[in-house]
């Protein structure tokens, strides 16, 4: 078994590209390459902003469709579920057309800025967070409904209470959104333009290096992106586990 693993490692290591990628990734990380650190920082900033923005919309919608009974509710649920798989390129195009100088929001001059990327990613992840929120809050509503109604809680107050009470489970929904935001390339490429030093993020940098044929560097950046996502997820997990132990 051990022998087999060793043989595999040796064989993989023998692929030049992978070896170079591994070495370059280490070099970039250890050397804290400034250009790369800026790209990493922008990636995190843009994706986190998008997720925060999207939570402001998705949590209320998710909770409202879980608790409320109003006309159009089922249509909203169907749309949310369907849009969980929105193609990033399409979202990018829609945001591009909206922000383009010839588009309705053109005068704001937001095209090719980080803000445009935040908007595109927020649009992309809102259905995901909203749909997962609805599921989580609806399950909790089953359990809490009679008690909250008995206490005289109206729908609005109940929704707020449920969002707060399911906060540890909702973190999973938010992380799903964050994963989608950091991983997508199609939307930010179109609305950000992959401008060096302004709107270049990890995924667009990877796409660029791939098209330059520098597969090793592209892979190294990919490794760093994955590491980053793992770090974000594990810190969120640790915090929520600690809190869960405390609050039950």
């Amino acid at each position: 078994m051990l022998e087999y693993v060793k043989r595999c490692i040796v064989r993989v290591w023998a692929i030049d590209t992978l070896r170079d990628a591994g070495l370059q990734a280490l070099e970039l990380m250890i050397g804290l390459d400034e250009a790369m650190m800026n790209i990493v920082a922008l990636s995190v900033q843009v994706s986190l902003s998008a997720v925060v923005l999207s939570c402001l919309i998705a949590l209320p919608i998710g909770a409202a469709t879980a608790v409320g009974r109003f006309p159009g509710r089922q249509a909203i649920i169907v749309v949310m579920n369907a849009f969980m798989g929105l193609p990033p390129v399409v979202v990018g195009l829609i945001v591009y057309l909206a922000l383009s100088r010839a588009g309705p929001l053109g005068p704001m001059g937001l095209l090719f800025t980080p803000t445009a990327m935040v908007l595109a990613q927020a649009l992309l992840v809102t259905p995901i967070i909203a749909a997962l929120t609805r599921q989580i809050v609806a399950d909790a509503w089953e359990e809490y409904r009679e008690q909250l109604q008995s206490l005289g809680s109206n729908g609005f107050r109940s929704a707020l209470t449920l969002i707060w009470d399911t906060r540890f489970s909702l973190l999973t929904a938010v992380l799903a959104g964050l994963g989608r935001a950091t991983a997508e390339v199609g939307a930010v490429m179109i609305v950000g333009g992959n401008i060096d030093g302004v709107t270049r993020v990890m995924t667009t940098a990877i796409a660029l290096e791939t098209s330059k044929g520098d597969l090793a560097l592209a892979l190294a950046l990919g490794a760093i992106l994955i590491l980053l996502v793992v770090m974000l997820n594990s810190s969120a997990y640790l915090i929520s586990e600690a809190a869960r132990r405390r609050y039950g």
Partner: protein, 232 residues
């Protein structure tokens, strides 16, 4: 003191009649609703409390001196919010429109009365089953209800926790709250009941003082129920 009465109360679900023209005038004493599983005990409580809307019939509240009647309910399984014991009480009080500082005072008083003062700042969800049920009672108590509904409040508890919960219910009653509860526990019915209401298949079959009911049940069903026989 408030008076609750129901008249010709019916409740259907999916074409099945769960409650079948029940009329009761509740006394100010402790009423215990008894009956086999599926008799409609819990539904009756929920109808009275307002969680369900009756298919037919009326529920009539009458209070002395034109004040709104305050009521509260404690369920078989307590539902606690993911926050401290104290915050669970203040949340309920805030929903009842009580201001923050008064809510805190009343919450602490209620916790103390239920013997939970030491746990005030512990998270409610990590408390034991018995503690959580006492916390649910404290939450209801803090609302100072005229009537308290209890739906099998000790069904999931061991004998010690059951006695502790019963002690809190007693204290609430002594403080002036009318209690209407359901139970499966005949011993509890004897201990806690002044009035016994015996329900089967959605109908009120018998109403008597506890003494009377357990000594000489009038209906055959009630007699069989007390004997532990299940003709249904």
């Amino acid at each position: 003191m408030a008076h609750l009465s129901v008249e010709n109360l019916c409740y259907d679900i999916g074409g099945r009649r769960i409650i079948d023209s029940i009329s009761i005038e509740f006394s100010a004493r402790r009423s215990v609703v008894l009956g086999p599983n599926g008799a409609g005990k819990s539904v009756l409580l929920r109808l009275c409390h307002g969680l369900l809307v009756p298919t037919a019939g009326s529920i009539c509240w009458r209070a002395d001196a034109n004040v709104a009647v305050r009521q509260a309910m404690v369920f078989q399984r307590p539902v606690m919010l993911r926050r401290s014991a104290l915050a669970n009480l203040t949340h309920a009080l805030s929903l009842a429109g009580v201001g923050a500082s008064e809510a805190r005072e009343r919450a602490i008083t209620a916790l103390r009365s239920a013997g939970l003062e030491a746990l005030a700042h512990r998270s409610a969800r990590v408390l034991s089953g018995g503690e959580q049920q006492r916390l649910a009672l404290a939450r209801a108590w803090a609302l100072r209800p005229d009537i308290l509904f209890l739906d099998e409040p000790t069904a999931n508890l061991d004998p010690v926790a059951t006695r502790e919960v019963e002690a809190v219910i007693d204290a609430i009653h002594r403080a002036g709250t009318q209690v209407i509860m359901t139970t499966h526990n005949l011993g509890q019915a004897r201990r806690m009941g002044d009035d016994i209401l015996f329900i089967a298949r959605g109908r009120l079959l018998e109403r008597a003082s506890a003494d009377h009911f357990f000594r000489a049940p009038k209906s055959a069903e009630a007699a069989a129920f007390i004997e532990g026989e299940l003709p249904w």
